[in-house]
């Protein structure tokens, strides 16, 4: 605590100074103290002085007695007294002035004392402030030292992290070189794939051109056939028209009967023309189908091209993926790629987290450094302010000292001056001492300030060194930051590549799902029975199990056609014979006749073949049945009045003794019934019919029993 008010010692010093001063000041007037005070002089107090004068005793006594002898001495004495009185008065006045001067000097001395006290107080306060500032400076220095230590630690840690980052950078560089190598390999593979895809493309283009040529050929064939059919139809139409004309001409020439025949011929010709028209329509339909098929062919070609492109893309994508040889390897490769992508993203995340932590540490260090610099600047300013204050105080003290010393040597008399001078000198000495003591204190303060300045310089030098180190670290950190930014960019590129690969993988998965769906759809279509009408036709086998009836119908139809053709031929031959003109028409008709004859011949041949074959089969079957079962079977198809077809079988045993021994059966939709006739109405036979057929419902048993009986009869007979 700084004491503003000086201690009591100062007052004591002042009182001692006064005591010391009084003899100095009273050197000119000696104070005499009468040990035995004169009582007789009580009534003449006005004349009592301190200075005892023996001569004056006589004067006083003489005044009472009036003695003249002593008067010549009295006048002198009186003169002397008057002189002395005057001197006394002068001296008194001088004493008063001196006393005034003394009071003034005392006042001034008090003032200077107060001023000195104030200055001393201020000095103490400044000392206290200096001490406080020194303590603060020491604290700040210790704090700065600690911070510097921490910064050194941080810098060492940053160096370690820098080394780690450098290692990571090297690893990243190595991975980048490996990735570049992979990229080069992939590029080579891509080139190979492009070459192979181009070859496949060329091959597919060749195939497409081949298919196109085939399609064109088929189209041309179809169109040629269509044209031929058209020509045929046109020829047939022309022939029909010519025949019509002929018929009309013949009509005019021939009778009513001939007209009827001609009408019949015309009808047949009409029927032929209608058949030809139908054939024309069929051919037209076929032509339309062919045209539609051509259109569908083009569409299929387009689809094939699209599929080819998709297949190329698919193949290229599959082959671009390293380590994939077939479609089955794709899911595994996708899984491995996904795992690698996940691992790389995790690593990237870790590296970015570390980078962020480093950046945060750097920022905090920078902030601490900035704070330390600001505090150092503030401390510097404070120290400079303190130095300025000390200098100012020093100047003030010097000025005070200079102001005090001249006032004490001017305007004092010698005898009193000596005492006054002595007092003044005593005061000057005291003031100089007081001036010296602040100077001494100032010297101490300046020494402390120099120490502070040296400490500050040391701190500044250390700060500068640390700043240089920090700058070096900052430059390294900046470089590392650039490297890290580059790595960030590379990581971004890798991430983009990973995202692209992931997108490709997703698109490939979608393609595979789509292809699987297509495969399942195609399989379902296959199973359903769908087919392409361009490349496939469906043929149905005619059921030869019913071929007998159908062949009969076809035989009958062919027979009717034959008869018609024969009638036509006869009519034409008759017309030929009758008509003279028409050699050209004959030629055309003869050509047609030749064709028809050829057809008729083929049909007749077929009919004969069928007949022969069926005859053989039927004869073999009948003979076998006869030999096996012992009955000759005759089959006859009939129709009931209600239109239901019925088959009648007539059985005659080989052991029959007469031709009347025949059994009639009727077969209808799987059911066989025996018919009553003359032979079955016999009692023996009817009895057997009742037992075997009616009761036991077994026709084979009846026929077997009948065979046995007939055999027995024969053998016995």
């Amino acid at each position: 605590m700084i004491l503003r008010t000086p201690p009591v010692q100062r007052k004591r010093r002042a009182s001692s100074a006064l005591d010391h001063e009084s003899p100095v000041s009273d050197r000119r007037l000696v104070v005499y103290e009468d040990p035995a005070p004169v009582a007789s002089h009580d009534h003449s107090d006005q004349l009592v002085c301190t200075y005892q004068c023996r001569q004056m005793l006589g004067v006083e006594i003489g005044q009472g007695t009036g003695m003249d002898s002593a008067f010549p001495v009295k006048s002198e004495v009186m003169d002397a007294l008057s002189l002395a009185e005057k001197q006394v008065i002068d001296y008194q006045s001088r004493v008063e002035t001196l006393e005034q001067n003394l009071t003034r000097s005392e006042e001034e001395r008090k003032r200077f004392k107060d001023h000195l006290d104030f200055v001393e107080q201020e000095l103490a306060a400044s000392k206290g402030r200096e001490q406080a500032l020194q303590q603060q400076l020491l604290k700040e220095v210790t704090e700065f030292q600690e911070r510097f230590k921490n910064q050194v630690k941080h810098s060492s840690e940053l160096e370690v992290q820098l080394r780690k980052e450098a290692d990571l950078r090297r690893c990243a560089e190595s991975s980048a070189t490996a990735a570049k190598d992979k990229v080069l390999e992939l590029e080579k593979k891509a080139r190979h794939i492009l070459e192979s895809s181009e070859r496949e493309k060329k091959h597919l283009q060749k195939e497409i051109s081949y298919f196109q040529d085939e399609g064109k050929l088929s189209c041309s064939r179809i169109s040629a056939e269509l044209e031929r059919m058209k020509m045929k139809a046109d020829n047939a139409m022309k022939e029909s028209e010519l025949l019509k004309k002929q018929m009309e001409e013949v009509r005019e020439q021939l009778n009513e009967e001939a007209e009827v025949r001609e009408a019949r011929k015309l009808k047949s010709l009409h029927a032929n023309t209608e058949l030809l028209k139908e054939k024309l329509l069929e051919e037209k339909g076929r032509r339309e189908k062919a045209e539609a098929e051509i259109i569908t062919l083009e569409e299929v070609q387009m689809n094939a091209e699209k599929l080819e492109n998709e297949l190329k893309i698919w193949k290229s994508l599959v082959n671009m993926i390293p380590g994939v040889l077939c479609f089955d390897d794709i899911p595994q490769k996708f899984a491995s790629l996904q795992k690698e992508a996940i691992d790389s993203t995790l690593k990237v995340g870790e590296v970015t987290a570390q980078l962020k932590e480093l950046e945060i540490a750097l920022e905090s260090e920078n902030l601490c450094r900035q704070q330390a610099e600001t505090q150092f600047a503030l401390a510097k300013e404070k120290a400079e302010d303190l130095v300025l204050e000390v200098k100012r105080l020093k100047l003030m003290l010097i000025l005070l000292a200079l102001n005090l010393t001249p006032n004490y040597f001017d305007g004092y008399a010698k005898p009193v001056e000596s005492a006054v001078v002595g007092a003044v000198t005593e005061e000057r000495d005291r003031l100089s001492k007081h001036a010296v003591t602040p100077n001494k204190l100032r010297i101490v303060d300046t020494e402390g300030a120099t120490v502070n300045a040296s400490l500050l310089r040391e701190l500044e030098s250390s700060l500068a060194a640390k700043e240089e180190i920090i700058k070096a670290f900052e430059s390294d950190l900046h470089k590392q930051g650039e490297i890290i930014n580059r790595q960030h960019d590379e990581l971004k590129v890798l991430n983009e590549n990973l995202n692209n690969e992931a997108r490709r993988i997703k698109s490939l998965e979608r393609e595979s799902d789509r292809l699987r769906a297509e495969i399942s759809l195609l399989e379902s279509k296959l199973g359903h029975g769908d087919y392409s009408t361009e490349s496939t036709k469906v043929l149905r086998m005619v059921n030869t199990l019913n071929i007998d009836n159908e062949t009969k119908h076809t035989i009958e139809a062919l027979r009717s056609e034959l008869e018609k053709a024969k009638a036509k031929l006869q009519a034409i031959e008759e017309l030929k014979g009758q008509s003279e003109a028409g050699n050209l028409i004959d030629a055309q008709i003869s050509d047609k006749l030749a064709q028809l004859k050829g057809q008729i011949a083929t049909l007749e041949k077929r009919e004969e073949r069928y007949k022969a074959v069926f005859a053989e089969k039927i004869s073999v079957f009948r003979r076998a049945c006869c030999s096996l079962f012992g009955y000759k079977i005759v089959m006859d198809d009939q129709q009931r009045p209600n239109g239901i077809p019925v088959t009648r079988f007539t059985l005659q045993s080989i052991y029959a003794q007469s031709d009347d021994e025949k059994l009639d059966f009727e077969y209808e939709s799987g059911n066989t019934n025996i018919l009553v006739n003359g032979y079955t109405s016999q009692p023996e036979i009817s009895h057997q019919v009742e037992i075997f057929i009616s009761k036991m419902n077994s026709i084979p048993a009846f026929t077997a029993n009948l065979t046995m009986e007939s055999f027995n009869k024969r053998t016995l007979s």
């Binding site: 088929s218 399989e523 379902s524 296959l526 199973g527 359903h528 029975g529 769908d530 087919y531 361009e534 490349s535 496939t536 036709k537 469906v538 043929l539 149905r540 086998m541 005619v542 059921n543 030869t544 199990l545 079957f621 799987g670 059911n671």
Partner: protein, 213 residues
């Protein structure tokens, strides 16, 4: 430990065609039993079948002359088409006699090795292996009776052949529609491969009314 190595037999296109067409004929015999169809009552009674062993399995073959001639014509034509590499598919269609509605479709899809057809080269495969594969299919055809709907009404057969467009239509064959089933149930069976012809079997049938309910 001795390792069994099957001796491989040389197979030509004619031989493969014969194997496949024979398979069709036996399958046509077996399918009616799988479909639990009763042959036309009285015309093809059960007594008209003989038991033979084929593909290591007991097979019932009809002795009806009409059916036999039908199957003989069928196999001869199919083998011709197979040798020419023109046959794509054979379908055995079972229809209702009354309504002509298609109830079952036995689809035999055929993939032919074009190189063999064009260049006449042969392949190697063990006959036993082929017979074993056919045996599996025959067993599967027989087991189809467990899930195929029962066909009580009289039914008729029809044989469809899917051929190339440039095939000449024989006398006993006519062009026809595919005779498809609406919303069929499909069951895929095994396949067999002679290295020249690969045959995939699939049966599609009309949903039974009880199942739909």
């Amino acid at each position: 430990m001795a390792s069994k190595t099957q001796t491989k037999d040389i197979i030509t296109i004619k031989g493969s065609a014969a194997i496949v067409s024979e398979f069709f004929s036996y399958a046509a015999n077996r399918i009616p039993f799988a479909s639990s169809i009763l042959y036309n009552r009285g015309v093809y009674p059960e007594e008209s079948f003989t038991k033979v062993k084929k593909y290591g399995l007991p097979m019932l073959l009809t002795q009806d002359e009409g059916v036999k001639s039908f199957l003989a014509n069928l196999t001869s034509q199919l083998s011709q088409w197979l040798e020419a590499g023109k046959l794509q598919r054979v379908v055995l269609v079972i229809m209702s006699k009354l309504t002509s509605e298609v109830l079952e479709r036995w689809n035999f899809n055929i993939e032919t090795d074009a190189e063999v057809v064009e260049q006449g080269v042969s392949r190697e495969k063990s006959d036993k292996e082929i017979m074993r594969e056919i045996q599996v299919i025959m067993r599967q055809i027989a087991s189809c009776v467990t899930y195929l709907p029962c066909l009580d009404d009289p039914c008729v057969f029809d044989v469809l052949a899917y051929t190339d467009m440039d095939v000449a239509v024989p006398f006993t064959w006519i062009e026809s529609d595919a005779k498809l089933i609406k919303n069929p149930q499909m069951v895929k069976l095994h396949s067999f491969d002679t290295k020249i012809h690969k045959v995939d079997t699939l049966v599609s049938y009309k949903n039974d009314e009880w199942d739909e309910q």
